[in-house]
Amino acid sequence: MQLSRKEILEKLQDIMISINDNDRERIEACTEQTRLVEDLGLTSVGMLYLVIVLEESFRIKFEDVGAATFSTVAKVIDYIEEKIK
């Protein structure tokens, strides 16, 4: 599966909206520089849930990552890009 960064970001946005529909506007407006905790208000549980859904959607396995592993959206995209190579 070869996806561009833009495609990964779009897919990531769709997933984040599906698990957190209250913040639809903020998620739709997010860029690679958006911070997950400070800007999107993602909690540690939210981060775990996001990782579980990302694993299913991209068919990859995350290592022992936690809420502090990914500070920005760009770091999540980097990780996924590395895994799906």
């Binding site: 599906s18 957190n20 209250n22 022992d64 502090a68």
Partner: protein
């Protein structure tokens, strides 16, 4: 050659549990109360046991409450800070988590244990509250239950006002969040289930509070009557004192 299994033994756990059983039973005199008929059934298979956390001895009381199962407590990494504490918590099969950075490694080991029909015990308030009020529950337990498909059993530990009082443990009926939620629930759905579980915990607290009231009802009336009669006597004496010439 036979492959050695990398499985931790329950010998220490069972040894301490058996040796501490008699002194513990004498000290706490634990009494289980079930919230309903459905709650009376024994917890079998994988389940998440949740309870209020008003003191540091709550894990011991939970072990007396659900005595027939081995508990695997979720504990913060701060509790593992010395070699002595680490020895105890590891031999008691506690699961170490980092509250600030709850990682996938810990989460996966909890899910694996639940799927292997183990009992995971936790305190969803997240810290020792030092009071009787049930505080806000964190929604991590709901995510664990949904990911493993196992039920959550709410338990309320009644706070003992005096050390000689009996220790009451109120057991609620199992709740299955998987049946309540859609296939891919949102985070707000999980928060709602966490709030519902908190409401259930409050109901258990009401049951616990009513136990004390039933027992104390008569003496309170008696005391009031004594108090009233003593007040009446005092006022009568005052009247007599006023009437008597100086």
């Amino acid at each position: 050659m036979k492959k050695r299994k990398n499985k931790k033994s329950y010998f220490f756990y069972d040894f301490v549990k058996i040796t501490a059983a008699i002194p513990g039973l004498l000290w706490f005199r634990p009494k289980r109360i079930y919230a309903s008929e459905a709650a009376k059934q024994r917890i079998r298979g994988g389940a998440l046991l949740i309870a209020n956390h008003s003191s540091n001895i709550d894990p011991i009381i939970l072990m007396f409450g659900i005595y027939y199962r081995r508990h695997h407590f979720i504990a913060t990494k701060e509790l593992f800070d010395t070699r002595f504490k680490r020895f105890w918590f590891e031999n008691f099969h506690c699961i170490e988590i980092d509250r600030e950075n709850f990682g996938m490694g810990s989460f996966r080991s909890i899910i694996d244990m639940l799927k292997a029909d183990k009992l995971i015990s936790m305190f969803p308030e997240g810290h020792v509250t030092n009071n009787e009020e049930v505080q806000k529950f964190k929604s991590g337990m709901v995510l664990m239950a949904v990911s493993s498909g196992k039920p959550i059993v709410p338990v309320y530990i009644k706070v003992r006002k005096r050390f000689w009082q009996r220790q009451y443990v109120i057991i609620g009926e199992p709740i299955n969040p998987t049946a309540m939620l859609q296939k891919m629930p949102t985070l707000s759905d999980m928060d709602r289930v966490a709030e519902l579980l908190r409401e259930k915990e409050k109901e258990l607290k009401e049951i616990a509070d009513s136990i004390g009231l039933k027992k104390r009802k008569k003496p309170i009336v008696k005391n009031d009557a004594n108090k009233k009669s003593s007040i009446h006597k005092e006022s009568q004496q005052d009247e007599i004192r006023d009437k008597t010439p100086v």
